[in-house]
């Protein structure tokens, strides 16, 4: 006869197994987890929480794990507090002294660190710190594009009206239009042999791209040194973008939720690319110099004058200071932003090439505020 205690144990074990069996996507971490953790080294441990470090860009939970008479302290890395809090979790979800069980990936360097893909309370198998990053559902009927009184589409929030920002990009790494190249959310290729298909790179750029890929993108200066996500990368990141349209001064601010919470200015007053910011004529910039104009319902932004100190896309495609971008932005309906890009960089590519994707309107929320800290990727 099975006792109630045994029943509870079996039930608890089943709950826990079920909790950890739920596929857990590596969705929104700020660095490529595989840069630090090895997906070929699964690890599962049970222990007692000693510390919860609730800081961006990643929360960490420290756990004492007993093995025989030995106790060792492990650092479990989780998604960012921004994303965890967006899913209802907080720094008090677990406390020092709580027993938890964690499944995930071991650190490549053999240290006692792991990427936690599934965390559950040992006592009852309740899964915690799960993150659902599905985009908001689309309305059954597309809502009309909001417009200014003169008929020009509005890209941003409406004072006293609809508030929100743009996120959930349909593509999170730059790939030439028409190319079918499997990669993960951070632009890490599933198959390195696909590298030449990603974009028409010159030989040196292709080799550099391959080496960045083979190092699992761990050299990304956006994470190592808080370098800004210039160029199209600002439209690829998980925390989205927000437009502020200053029609009086004829400029559009593009506020960036990820990276280091920066912004870029697109001038729409007809000026040239030269000397827009005092003294920067000879000074290449992380965001370049952008001028824009409306062609019908499409904002066409022409940007040049980039420096070479950053990666302009997830995945590590190289660029040079010869980079010129034509970005076309349109809002075909209330909830969709369309982004079409032409990359012209004769220093790194053999010809101009294009890419495009969409972003989704996140209604009623302000853009997350993420501040980068060097070497805390």
């Amino acid at each position: 006869m099975i006792s109630m205690t045994t029943c509870r144990r079996v039930l608890r074990a089943a709950c826990f197994a079920a909790a950890l069996a739920v596929p857990s996507a590596l969705l929104v971490a700020h660095h490529e987890p595989l840069a630090k953790f090895d997906d070929k080294k699964p690890v599962r441990l049970r222990g007692v929480v000693t510390l919860v470090d609730w800081r961006n860009p990643h929360a960490h939970v420290f756990v004492n794990v007993k093995s025989g008479e030995q106790v060792s302290n492990w650092a479990v890395e989780l998604e960012s507090p921004i994303d965890l809090e967006a899913n209802g979790w907080s720094r008090t979800t677990i406390q020092p002294g709580d027993a938890i069980t964690v499944a995930g990936l071991a650190a490549r360097d053999g240290s006692r660190q792991m990427w936690g893909t599934a965390v559950a309370m040992t006592a009852n198998g309740k899964r915690i710190f799960s993150v659902n990053m599905a985009p908001p559902p689309m309305p059954l009927q597309p809502r009309p594009t909001p417009k200014w009184p003169d008929g020009q589409p509005r890209l941003g929030s409406v004072a006293g009206g609809a508030q929100g920002y743009w996120a959930f990009p349909s593509a999170t790494a730059l790939v030439e239009s028409g190319a079918n190249v499997p990669m993960d959310e951070w632009g890490l290729l599933k198959n390195i042999a696909d590298a030449p298909k990603v974009a028409p790179m010159q030989a040196w750029a292709l080799q550099l791209y391959k080496e960045r890929q083979q190092r699992f993108l761990r050299d990304d200066p956006m994470y190592l040194n808080c370098k800004p996500p210039g160029g199209p990368r600002q439209f690829e990141l998980s925390h989205g973008v927000q437009f502020v349209e200053d029609r009086v001064r004829q400029r559009i601010f593009v506020l960036i939720g990820s990276g280091n919470n920066n912004y870029r200015i697109v001038y729409t007053d007809g000026r040239s690319h030269q000397g827009q910011v005092g003294g920067d004529d000879e000074n290449p910039l992380f965001y370049g110099r952008s001028v824009g104009k409306w062609e019908g319902d499409t904002l066409v932004m022409d940007t040049r004058g980039f420096n070479e100190d950053f990666w302009f896309t997830n995945g590590g495609l190289p660029h040079t200071d010869q980079l010129k971008l034509i970005e076309k932005i349109s809002r075909p309906n209330f909830d969709t932003l369309k982004y079409d890009l032409t990359v012209d960089d004769q220093g790194a590519y053999t010809r101009p090439w294009t890419a495009s994707w969409t972003l989704r309107w996140v209604a009623g929320k302000d853009m997350p505020r993420h501040l980068c800290q060097e070497n805390r990727s």
């Binding site: 040196w204 292709l206 070479e308 040079t320 010869q322 220093g347």
Partner: protein
């Protein structure tokens, strides 16, 4: 010699940027180091190179007596570097330098080129420059 070092340091200070990884063409930028045993132009050397999309161009020891790089190539397979430059010796006679090396620590801020140099008179030695 002290004056040369001071001059090189001054030029380097004017031309260089903080030591962060440069993410564009791997040879572009200012490089400071040594070509050991160079009796004519001294042990210390500064290279400033650029990339126009097709060719690497640049100068060695920028200044009124700089040495123009006539030919520079980068082979991405192994990141091999080959540089040829036209100089003049102390008597004003043409002197050709040939430098062959390899880029190491490519993704890092402390990227270096190590290899050898030789000149048309037969002198040769070790070559090492680090990107500034």
């Amino acid at each position: 010699m002290k004056n040369l070092i001071f001059a090189l340091a001054a030029v380097a200070a004017l031309l260089t940027v903080p030591a962060v990884a440069q993410e564009g063409h791997p040879l572009k930028g200012s490089w400071l180091g040594t070509w050991t045993g160079n009796k004519i132009h001294g042990n210390d050397v500064l290279l400033v190179m650029s990339w126009d999309g097709k060719n690497v161009t640049g100068t060695i020891n920028p200044g009124t007596d700089n040495i123009v790089i006539k030919n520079a190539m980068l082979n991405p397979e192994g990141w091999l570097v080959h540089i040829e430059a036209e100089a003049k010796d102390k008597s004003g006679q043409p002197l050709t330098y040939t430098i062959d090396g390899k880029i190491e620590n490519l993704p890092l801020a402390n990227r270096v080129v190590t290899g050898t140099w030789k000149d048309s008179r037969g002198d040769t030695g070790a070559f090492k420059i680090g990107r500034q």
